[in-house]
């Protein structure tokens, strides 16, 4: 029945709706450049969300863990074969995304008989200088966006914009790792709170239609205490997951996950309680 163009457009539209639904409970991801490299941060539940892809490339994802694994493997395969056959400096995030996984994701999304990838992906690439650090985000339909300085993953574009503008407003001229970590977690909280609010307001408008005013107040930026309380509230069942690509790290592999020891050294006092163990 999808042979008719209208049906196909409708099917793809349904798919979008279905996929948007899948990310509502997801945990946002924040990536930013700091004076020593790139920091990736999120709060995860069970399965990790941050991965090493190549010497200077890191991956973060939202969505279904199995789909993320599949794409992670094809990125790893492409990166290592290319790095071996040509050279490590020819392995760039932009080539892997544009000619590697983005077309695959798009095809899966449009083939309405098959299952799409339930993923949003962020690829961070450490440059030789801070100005050359780059980020790529790919949506479930294969559209990608290249940015510098910062990038986020969230349930929908509105939340992403909110997180990005918070990040931009609060980034000083130079950012140390400690400051970056604090800022990244606050931005995560902005996104996570926005997810919650959207979810609640949908439930309310679904059951009773009198709370139109509540949604507009949700647009205001929460204050610092609210953010800290929210991050603290996640400790226990969820874990703060952070990783860095360090420009000055010895050897060729620049990726390093931050362990709980690193986190308790780097986090401000107010957030010490989120460190596991």
């Amino acid at each position: 029945m999808y042979e008719e163009p209208y049906r196909w457009v409708e099917a793809v539209g349904n798919r979008r709706q279905y996929l948007d639904e899948q990310f509502k409970q997801g945990s946002p991801v924040v990536a930013l450049t700091y004076d020593g490299g790139i920091l990736l941060a999120t709060v995860s539940k069970g399965t990790p969300k941050l991965y090493e892809i190549y010497d200077r490339l890191a991956l973060a994802g939202m969505g279904h863990p199995t789909d993320l694994e599949k794409l992670r493997f094809s990125l790893l395969e492409m990166a290592h074969v290319e790095g071996f056959n040509r050279s490590p400096s020819d392995v760039t995030g932009s080539r892997l995304v544009k000619y590697g996984i983005a077309p695959v994701i798009k095809q899966a999304f449009e083939e309405v008989y098959k299952a799409p990838f339930i993923v949003r992906i962020l690829v961070a690439e450490l440059g030789s200088k801070q100005e050359k650090d780059a980020f790529l985000t790919i949506n479930y339909d294969g559209t990608f966006e290249e940015t510098t300085a910062r990038a986020v993953l969230a349930a929908n574009p509105a939340v992403q914009v909110k997180m990005l503008s918070y990040l931009k407003e609060n980034t000083p001229a130079t950012l140390s790792l400690e400051q970056g970590l604090d800022l990244a977690l606050r931005t995560w909280a902005i996104g996570s709170l926005a997810h919650q609010q959207q979810d609640e307001s949908e439930h309310q408008t679904g059951t009773e239609s009198s709370t139109g005013g509540a949604t507009s107040s949700a647009a205001a930026v929460p204050n610092s205490d609210t953010l800290i309380t929210h991050i603290r509230g996640t400790a226990g069942e969820r874990t703060v997951e952070c990783a860095v690509l360090e420009r000055q790290a010895p050897g060729s592999s620049k990726y390093r996950p931050l362990k709980s020891g690193d986190l308790s050294r780097l986090l401000p006092k107010s957030l010490q309680s989120v460190v596991a163990g």
Binding site: Y54, E77, H80, G251
Partner: protein, 257 residues
């Protein structure tokens, strides 16, 4: 298939072969010859190699690096045909990284050893044809067991654990005897030597090898040419800079008569 994290298998699926034998290669003079050595000292393993590459009686290059870092905890020192050896090191480097990144854990030390054996085994036809024989020494620090380890191989890929020391290359017969003597009747066993004394011994051993083997390059102070020396300890691989070797060589290796 890809889920096993085997990089060499992945390459082979794409049509890659290591060291195909070239017919009649035996008649040509190939670049090789070397002295490499590895021994355990107090803190870990010391691996060192001279820097000369020769083809017959020709010196091809005097700044070759034959002690190659594969990852943070392992080093492969190579004797034999450099073209094949460098290729092997590149495969190993990518294999270990690929394994770590796909499986989200380090490849075990035994797994690394097997990977070296497998490459040598694939290379047997080329080795026997005379175009690609490689005789490496693999040294590293087994982080899980907290122990330094040394292994050496023959060209067919058999793996031998060199308990205290291992040598390879054309200059190695000279120093194998010295190492045996030092370790058995010397003032103290090699594995109790402190770092600086271990470095002095390595410099003396390579100088002796160069004395008797024309294919091993000696130390050339005029052009500040020192051997490549690496120390592998629990903290990882560390390269000894020339600035450290120079005073040691001048004060404890050169004999002023």
């Amino acid at each position: 298939m890809g889920m096993q994290g085997d990089f060499l298998q992945l390459l082979k699926e794409q049509g890659y072969t290591l060291g195909s034998p070239a017919a009649g290669g035996a008649g040509h003079t190939l670049t090789n010859a070397t002295t490499i050595l590895a021994f355990k000292y107090r803190d870990g393993v010391l691996v060192a190699g001279d820097r000369r590459a020769t083809a017959g009686n020709m010196v091809m290059y005097d700044r070759t690096d034959k002690v190659l870092e594969i990852d943070r905890y392992s080093v492969m020192a190579i004797a034999g045909v450099p073209a094949t050896a460098y290729e092997m090191v590149r495969v190993l480097e990518h294999s270990f990284k690929y394994y770590r990144r796909t499986q989200l854990q380090e490849l075990s030390f035994d797994g690394k050893l097997r990977a070296v054996s497998k490459l040598l085994k694939d290379n047997v036809p080329a080795a026997l044809a005379g175009t690609g024989a490689v005789v490496p020494v693999f040294a590293g620090y087994d982080v899980e067991q907290g122990a330094a380890k040394i292994y050496f191989y023959d060209i067919l890929g058999a793996e031998f654990e060199g308990a205290e020391y291992a040598v390879s290359g054309s200059g190695s017969p000279t120093i194998r005897g010295i190492l045996h003597y030092l370790n058995t009747w010397g003032p103290q066993p090699l594995n109790t030597l402190p770092e600086e004394e271990a470095m002095v011994q390595a410099l003396r051993l390579l100088t002796s090898a160069a004395e008797f083997d024309s294919a091993t390059g000696g130390i050339n102070r005029e052009s500040s040419l020192y051997p490549v020396m690496k120390l592998i300890t629990g903290a990882g691989v560390q390269t000894v800079p020339d600035a450290t070797l120079k005073p040691l060589f001048e004060s404890q290796v050169v004999r002023y008569v």
